[in-house]
Symmetry: D2
Subunit: 398 residues, 4 copies
């Protein structure tokens, strides 16, 4: 039994931490202000500067496990960096480690043709373009991916795509989307769909609107897209035909770990804000931190965070050592445990901060309202619980 | 034992319901859109029209228990109207029953001088002005009102006010504030403060900013105010000198019932949205409503809502029959139970709606992010729990 | 709106309370000691004495709504007496108001023939015999009553009963059982079963064992019964043939209210023990009652108890005014809310009492381990939640 | 990062598992029956046989980290054996690894004089005697160990002990008690007490009663002891004078890990019972395991168990690598997390099993009612939460 990051990972972690504390956190408010003013999904001047500095230090594309493309870290070691990056809402973008570009780059690296890699992967890794991922549909249930309605039909050298998507995150300003479409309507559940690369300037790619989410419209958006006889070349198929769900699965494991470790980083940052507040603020003559109500919040949060982190690191370690398939149960559990833990912690922090907690004078209120989606995105809690239960029941079904 | 509204109340309830369903709910989206475009705290054109219609039908100032000023309903009966109004975020304003004007009008009616009534109460009731309430301070704990820092010192015929407030809700566009200030620094806890009426154009009333709350700046705002040698005439004292907390207490009972019943109305509306969604949306071939996860949400929500409503109506009935003082325990409990119930219900509705739930395509996401403050405003949960526990302990302290 | 017991009920309540405080509670430990020593399900000497005194005062059979048989109280008023009786584990028996005799008497009074009334109802009401109710089966799911396996077949003038029951509570020492049996195997769900009166000395009524429940075997028991070609006369059918579920439904409404109000009485007694302990016991120099952890338990318990009571009384009031059928939703909710509330409260009381709480030096530990079954008996929580949800979904299914 | 037991540990684990599955679990019901019949705290015939077999295989005293006395395993590795032993309520005793003998042996090995080791430690390790630990007092709060009331005063060559203890577990049939007594009344908090070895046949050691706990009296008991001028030789002092709390601390770390891992083993056994039940029992035509209510219980239990185990193993690993002192926070967290997790899991299992769950036909009901004390023993949850919170607050107190 041995816990902790590898020596190799430690070196990068130190650099990331130094950059985070010295460059990113001090610039946070400025970036948020600039984004609020511009709000078109493009990098703001300060973000551009930070990205250039990070890139110059090779703190860039840290997520890719293949040294050909990125830092070549294990899932476990990269997960520890994710927690650090999660502490600041702008950090992932600074290090070119932001979703959905990360997932898109991963599957392009693994399944893309050489032409696709040249056209889409390289500029993504250089940071000169952004991308989006178009899977969720307003008219089919996200908890049943086999119910997908958007179709792609071959017509000569082209795919003709028709359908309705939303929550295509990052579409405003993106160069291309990777779209999940039904290509094999008669196929059984997980063999019905394919992934196709669709440039956002393709005819028939209609960005209807950036959906207002938790009171916020703007930035790169959670967009509603109508695909209306949208045509792309046959060669834009990513990976094997009808292999959409297989690729989605490949994408999921590491993506979940990244998301979850960032969520843990958010929880830690909020936790720190709570403790500092409790150390200084008084109610009557007594410091909040000496009140048992507050001690209950702090202790319970610490216990929940630490347990969630251990579970996530264990899942990452299993992915690294016995493979994604054998880590499925732990990955599913991580996906349920971490977002719920994060929301619990944030709720306590808000309550501890009082009026300050619901204001935007700290990052906590934004973490809380934006974080709620994590219990829904990439399969709601309930779908994962069903899957977890079935695997356990099977173990005892002799 | 007899549950239910009085005959007299029933007649007004029917009118309110009809107006709500036929006029207000259909206009909801339009008002929200207009408010988003204007965002200066003034009534939008559609709101003005609705208000005029409601006033013409005498569906106006329904909250005042004294027939001289308003509808003269019991707390219990008016609470039932509040639940209905709570269903739409714009309804209270339409009926001129919106906070903080309601609380301000109540204490002006009870404690105001004839001059104050003429100058402030009458136009409030006519709906020609708005007001705000300035109590919360960034530098003192809301859970310890005796720690108040803002002071008023008599200087000749004037009060000179100095201090720092925030979450002065509704200040943008308000004609006057009722401000809680320390006038008796040596006084014991509840005899230190007074309430003073401060016109917002008084010298030294500085509206620093509308604080961004849960991502939202604007409307009439949750404002930060600096009182800097702010001077108002001696006659602007509301009620007895050093009577601030006494008046605040008087204001609290009915106000809590109103707030809580509106919150119950919100919960009911969200509950209805969940049920309709569960009746129509399928996951695989099965309706969501046939899934036990969803049934659990629906059943638990129904049980929580109904219990909370019974408790609130019981508190209102006790206020009506044995007086506010003897209903204190029930009022405290209502203040804790209802906001927590509402947040629980909204959380389940969001989870049931999935991506739609975090979008602003339904009113649920806004209810959820704005509703969080209810567990903090007017005393956080914890303060009320302490008070509730102490009263119980006393019962057994023979 | 009017809360509270009727004048008529108040008079009986006063008598019950006086008898409870002056006679029953002081004798509690003695009865428990005697029961522990004897443990054969018969009334102990002290219990006999108390019963004689209560009967002499006509504090007897208070549960029957028909004055011909009992006190003739409304469900609402009797529910208030139940709460008082629930405070002492021996009180219901003292007043001849103990389950399952109460439910059995109710259905005998409503559905029994004159002969059955003479033979079974009258001695039950006189208190000279006891009875049991035989429905739960080890091999069929209690959450699906239509899956019942025990059968009764007519053979000439007799029913021949075969099957396996358990949790036939009170069988040790009982004169007769009312047994739920399938008489119409082809019938649809709720028309398959009948109720038959089976004397416990009938041939083929085999009491296999008193099942050990939560470490306790003995008393009148939760018994396992084998019906092996058990024969009783045709005339022992209770009510209409195949009417078993209809009668069970009739029995359920009031029975649930009684059970739940007794559970509320238990919660109140435990709550009082917690408060008295918190008022006297110190941790360090500080009284437990001044600790926020303890205040949290007290406040939350008070809020849960009061809400649960209001819901139960509301259900009783609806039964009284609009009938059992129209109170179904409230009855189902009460059945879920109250046992869960009780277990929550008891858990907090145990934690507050510390080592004393898990000892049998107070009645709390026994309430807790015996109370757990209430979330299972008469339909587990989950079955009721499904039913509650379906009724709500139907309201919005236009 | 590397999870899992060492090679050395694995070999013992295999032996323990084989013995457990082949010898212990099949004999479980027999031992429980024999204990029920005899109930005097002595080993029953079957227990004696099992112990002899285990000892012959050297599966004996596995808990002692010093190879001179026991198996010499790391805390981490032994913790994994504890989980296995926890699966059966009789296993710890079979392997001579049962509390409180384990803790007593540990401190005798670390702090005992050679004479004490010869007289008390060796026979304990041989299994020829049993011991008890006498710390909890009915009149002082377990959450404030510095409030201890029992005193020992030197009188010549003897200690004279006076005081009142209870929950002295295992006293019936024990050879000696280790008693915590105040020897330095003026000393500050943690320097007031000493530990003294008191033979149970010493004059003035009065075993008042075996306290009934959760309906159970008997076995080796949770005993109430009156020390009335109880005299033992000066040499019976264990370790340094006034070092009682220091020794208690030394005893606590490993003891908590052992307790907690056994509790995890209990949770796993109950979890398995739930899954097997859900795989076979039907409600209507549908297997319980296909019901979402049941899937929710299974998934949530799996997530809670796995997180709790990772936390406990992490605490053990920290004890092994950086020492008990530096693992304090993790040890405190483990003490809170695991008993709560266990009770949550057991509650779900009971609900899933229905009537069977509250019966003693499975071991679940006994685990549940006996397990409740774990949230109180060795410091209630709340005391540990306060300590956890204070350590976190300190980290941010710059």
């Amino acid at each position: 039994m041995k816990f902790g990051i590898s020596e190799e990972g430690r070196i990068i972690e130190d650099q990331v931490l130094r950059f985070l504390n010295e460059k990113i956190i001090p610039a946070e408010k400025q970036v948020i202000k600039e984004e609020h003013d511009v709000n078109d999904g493009r990098d703001t001047p300060t973000m551009k500067r930070l990205r250039a500095e990070a890139k110059a230090l090779s703190l860039w594309n840290l997520y890719l496990p293949d040294k050909k493309w990125g830092a070549g870290l294990s899932n476990h070691d990269y997960s520890i960096l994710c927690e650090q990056m999660g502490r600041s809402s702008i950090a992932s973008r600074v290090f070119n480690c932001n979703a959905p570009d990360t997932g898109n780059a991963e599957i392009l690296a693994e399944f893309g043709s050489e032409v696709q890699k040249a056209e889409y992967l390289r500029p993504l890794l250089e940071g000169s373009i952004r991308s989006c991922f178009s899977m969720t549909e307003p008219d089919s249930s996200g908890s049943d991916p086999t119910g997908l309605l958007t179709t792609a039909v071959r017509d000569g050298d082209e795919w003709v795509i028709n359908g309705h998507k939303w929550f295509t995150s990052g579409a405003v300003g993106a160069k291309f989307a990777i779209v999940m479409v039904v290509t094999n309507p008669q196929g059984s559940g997980y063999e019905r769909a394919s992934m196709i690369i669709v440039p956002t300037d393709a005819p028939g790619f209609n960005l209807v609107r950036s959906v207002s989410v938790m009171g916020h419209v703007g930035g790169s958006g959670h967009c509603e897209i109508q695909y209306h006889n949208c045509r792309v070349p046959i060669t834009n198929l990513l990976g094997p035909e009808h292999g959409g769900f297989m690729i989605a699965q490949a994408r999921l494991g590491p993506g979940r770990i990244h998301h979850c470790m960032r969520a843990i980083g958010m929880a830690e940052r909020a936790f720190e804000i709570m403790c500092r507040h409790a150390n200084t603020r008084k109610s009557g003559d007594i410091k909040l931190g000496d009140r048992q109500f507050v001690q209950e919040w702090i202790a319970t949060s610490r216990m929940e965070i630490d347990q969630a982190r251990l579970l996530t690191q264990y899942a990452a370690w299993k992915m690294d050592t016995v493979g994604k398939h054998n880590a499925r149960q732990e990955l599913s559990m991580t996906k349920v445990v971490v977002p719920n833990m994060m929301m619990n912690v944030l709720d306590r922090v808000i309550q501890c901060l009082g009026a300050l907690g619901v204001s935007d004078d700290t990052p906590v209120a934004a973490m809380w309202r934006n974080g709620r989606a994590l219990r829904i995105a990439d399969g709601p809690d309930e779908v994962h619980k069903i899957v977890i239960a079935r695997r356990e029941l099977k173990r005892f079904s002799d």
